[in-house]
């Protein structure tokens, strides 16, 4: 379907007006909202993620693409809700206790939404107990922990410990942020580490068993 391909291209290029117009046209032509999301928008954001990982595009281009998708989702979400269609996976995200930094978390959140994850953003300075409660309430498949500062890395360890101790076997924990490494993720028992917003989608999909 050429229009779905056009939509994918519009999202990938961050063309907000075109993205909304094409979404409206697809719906008017009888394309299901689910198909618009899964075959039009999500592939567009996947292109963004791939190009971002390769440094072919940078944060500005990622932001305008995510905003274009967000505008389209405003049209689609009421229809998806009415049809009882929800994203297959739910992710919780927040910046760990002691840390108020949020741009990294926001970028990951946008990219996960772009990959059709339902995202619950807990904000900044999130206590281990709050992560756990949210993971239980939303039956989260992924819990994402972000930290900017070396001084707040210990809070990650404690959050991982509490969630693991609660025995949430279906919940995988991902960490990321400026001072974080794969080695640190291994040390504290996190299930995954993402170096950037593009690879955060890949890692999340791998952890939920939905990798391409």
């Amino acid at each position: 379907m050429p229009l779905l391909n056009d939509l994918t291209a519009a999202v990938a290029a961050g063309k907000r007006v075109d993205t909304v117009r094409l979404t409206q046209e697809l719906l008017a032509a009888g394309t299901s909202p689910q198909a618009v999301v899964e075959q039009g928008l999500v592939p567009g954001m996947a292109i963004v993620g791939e190009r971002f990982k390769k440094n072919e595009i940078f944060v500005p281009e990622m932001l305008v693409a995510a905003r274009a998708m967000k505008e389209a989702l405003k049209l689609l979400e009421p229809l998806l809700l009415k049809a009882g269609i929800k994203p297959k996976y739910t992710a919780i995200i927040g910046t760990v206790q002691g840390d108020l930094h949020d741009i990294g978390k926001n970028l990951i959140s946008m990219m996960w939404r772009g990959a059709n994850f339902a995202v619950v953003d807990l904000g900044t300075n999130v206590s281990p107990e709050k992560y756990l409660a949210a993971a239980q309430e939303h039956k989260a498949h992924i819990v994402g922990l972000s930290a900017l500062l070396t001084t707040t890395m210990p809070a990650m360890k404690e959050t991982v410990r509490i969630i693991k101790a609660a025995g949430l076997t279906e919940t995988k924990i991902m960490i990321g942020g400026a001072p974080i490494t794969q080695e640190f993720a291994n040390d504290i028992g996190a299930d995954g580490y993402a170096a950037d917003a593009g690879s955060a989608v890949d890692v999340a999909k791998q952890l939920v068993g939905d990798a391409a």
């Binding site: 961050g14 944060v59 108020l100 490494t181 950037d196």
Partner: protein, 361 residues
């Protein structure tokens, strides 16, 4: 016991000239919590004592980050740990009480082109010089007495943009309204340079300009090199040209992975890069051979390794990176960020010992 034969100022000047020095120049920064820990473990006074023990060669005179509403600081809300403040840039952010760390930016007063044109631009241009020029001159004379390399410090346009209009608005406007971005960067740069002129007019003759602007994170620069070249680089070049016209050298501070723009920095007239963040994948063992003759390397000693307090690991870090940097004669010691509180005072004293061991030519 090794002997120093040069003043800090001579040493740093020779570093810029790639001429022989007695030892590598030194400087460092510390999180406030680190100093608090070290005071419990034997540091007598404050960060200045740590710098004296390190034998720092650098002396800052002033700090320029012009705002639209100098001295505005309105507390909007607070709890036991944080307070939410409307700041001098018109933004609202939540800060820790009595603790360092990046604030949470809640809103930005200058959130539209219209707000910039009608309120913020005129306010910034009308605001008085926000540098205490008298204090700067006293710091200059103190630095001269101590033999240190004296420098002006100020924020460049990209960092100013992020503070004024926020990351997301700034980065999207770089695509959608580049003229707005150019104007903010240009106005900011005009005001910073004007404020420095005030310091010079009071009689200071600093040796250098240390420009601050975090334009990258651990993956890459925030925007593409082409976008940087188009929108921000002209102001960087203008700052460097201004410094050179006044006989000053230029140091550029940025965190993050900036390997893709090193040549643009050199083209802008930046002569030294600091702090060269190791955890963002920056490694002077890689860059010194390719860029060290044109861009002095200042820092890159990994705070994550310092934080292990593993002296063998730290010694290897210092030994190998000093060797790479010193091979160009254009290297100065600094941690690759600020020394975190996981580092014990005993470890930091050992670090100074390693700097002594490996940092003499």
């Amino acid at each position: 016991m090794k002997t120093c034969t040069m003043t800090g100022c001579e040493r740093v000047e020779r570093m810029f000239a790639r001429r022989d020095q007695d030892r590598v120049p030194r400087c460092d920064t510390y999180w406030p919590e680190t100093i608090t820990r070290w005071q419990r473990e034997g540091l007598q006074w404050d960060h200045n004592d740590a710098l004296r023990l390190l034998e720092t060669d650098f002396q800052g005179l002033c700090w320029s980050w012009p705002s639209a509403f100098p001295n505005q600081r309105e507390v909007l809300a607070q709890d036991a740990e944080t307070e939410t403040i409307r700041d001098a840039w018109g933004g609202v952010a939540r800060f820790w009480k009595g603790r360092s760390g990046t604030p949470e930016h809640i809103s930005f007063g200058c959130d539209t082109r219209e707000a910039w044109d009608k309120i913020y631009r005129p306010a910034m241009l009308a605001a008085p010089n926000q540098i205490d020029t008298h204090a700067a001159v006293l710091r200059f004379h103190e630095g001269r007495q101590l033999g240190r390399w004296t420098h002006l410090s100020g924020v460049e346009g990209f960092e100013a943009l992020r503070r004024l209009i926020g990351d997301e608005a700034c980065l999207m406007a770089m695509i959608e309204d580049p003229e707005w971005i150019r104007d903010i960067v240009s106005v900011h740069t005009d005001i910073v340079l004007r404020s420095f002129e005030g310091v010079l007019a009071e009689g200071a003759k600093p040796d250098g300009l240390w420009i601050y602007g975090d334009m990258a994170y651990n993956h890459a620069t925030m925007c593409s090199p082409a976008m940087y070249r188009d929108l921000v680089w002209p102001a960087h070049k203008r700052m460097a040209d201004w410094a050179h016209a006044h006989g000053m050298h230029v140091i550029y501070h940025t965190d993050g992975r900036v390997s893709g723009v090193l040549d643009l920095y050199i083209e802008a007239g930046f002569e030294c890069l600091q702090p060269i963040e190791a955890k963002a994948g920056m490694d002077i063992r890689q860059f010194a051979p390719t860029h060290g003759s044109r861009l002095a390397m200042f820092g890159n000693i990994d705070v994550m390794k310092m934080a292990t307090n593993n002296l063998d690991l730290i010694e290897e870090e210092i030994r190998t990176k000093f060797a790479a940097g010193m091979a160009t004669r254009g290297y100065a010691y600094h941690s690759d960020h600020s020394v975190p509180p996981q580092v014990s005072w005993d470890t930091y004293k050992a670090i100074i010992g390693f700097i002594d061991r490996y940092g003499y030519y």
